[in-house]
Symmetry: C2
Subunit: 223 residues, 2 copies
């Protein structure tokens, strides 16, 4: 059985978990916090980042969320998520990188610092100036999602792909931390409601981070 | 004919250029500076990052260095660089991510800010405290490379792979900017000399960034 080392608000672990569930790969969760890593975790991934996938019986560890997704794409037989022609696959991977790097850097990461690390680790209040700038950048990203959805049914084209799960994973963490305002983003909001309604999403929406409660609407698939 | 939009000291463009040359894909270079992007460049990649690959006759643009490498891996017929079993391919991708993200974040990016952006864009002197910390972290990464090379011939295993080019691309930029001290890293140094000697590396070593000269040893494959 696969284990995934992660914590509830790690957006990269969420992307992997969504992909695994969509593919029907079962896994067990082991809590691991990068700000206080266990010895065992560091032997599996010297970089000290979540998620890490581990299969003890095969003495196999996989690290880096994109490497993990590619591995299950190559070894799984059902439900491809990096699909289509080489050009379409390149577009899916470009979009995954956009959300993993740009959305994360502009929105998810600053929210995690201000509302998670400061509260849980540093015992400091959040910086309201940073929160305002994060909200502004979130609107820019949601504008781009609206634009994408004006041009095709899913974010990277005509088919549901890893790009949708990468984006929804980042947005779900930002939403948990109060950083998403859907006002003026009808297209993106409708898409996110569909993503939230998928069975693969359900376990994420019921998980809580200790001492950091989500807003009331967070787990409501109609909100 | 492919075009690559890049600037001489972009480590991600270097990784892609090395991979393309190894695979025998010819390309033309178009200079693009992310701190002053052209309109055309932004239509090819709204994220505004180098490298971007463009094939005008097919109206095709590819962005994100890992998506680009995967595209040429899937469409090329010669010289695979993400090779072996699914587990070996996962290890190659983990190592690429390690250098693209951790080495870049710890070493290449701060050096680029201190010695490139500050000089060329901001007209400020570098911060010597940041440079010392960067040098310390570079030694930690070189220690890990020494350790890897104690265990197998190339960074990700028995075969030369994209991991070696991702690492060498980052190191070459750090070396250009004076951030690499090989003292105490015999294994890593011998490996880097071999990488530098490859024909694919030659064009990179002769390219210069305007107003930022490299140290004397930089292009010497024996140094």
């Amino acid at each position: 059985m696969w284990k995934i080392f992660c914590f509830p608000l790690c957006p990269f672990s969420r992307k992997v978990r969504l992909a695994l569930s969509e593919k029907g790969v079962t896994y067990e969760i082991v809590r691991e916090y990068p700000w206080d890593p266990s010895e065992k975790f560091l032997t599996y991934n010297p970089a000290g980042r979540t998620p890490v996938m581990r299969f003890d019986a095969r003495d196999l560890s996989l690290a880096d969320s994109r490497a993990i997704c590619e591995y299950f794409e190559e070894t799984g037989t059902s439900k491809p998520l990096i699909l289509g022609s080489a050009v379409q696959r390149a577009e899916i991977r470009r979009m995954v990188a956009l959300f993993d790097e740009n959305f994360f850097g502009d929105v998810t990461h600053p929210l995690m610092i201000e509302k998670l690390t400061k509260r849980v680790v540093l015992r400091l209040p959040p910086d309201s100036k940073v929160l305002r700038e994060t909200m502004r950048l979130a609107h820019e990203h949601l504008d781009y999602i609206d634009w994408l959805l004006d041009h095709h049914r899913w974010l990277a084209g005509a088919q549901l792909s890893l790009a949708d799960f990468a984006a929804a994973a980042q947005i779900s963490v930002a939403d948990y931390l109060g950083g998403i305002d859907w006002n003026g983003h009808e297209g993106a909001h409708a898409w996110y409601r569909v993503m939230k309604s998928r069975p693969s999403f359900r376990p994420l929406l019921t998980e809580k981070m200790e001492n950091v409660p989500p807003p009331a609407h967070y787990a409501d698939v109609n909100a």
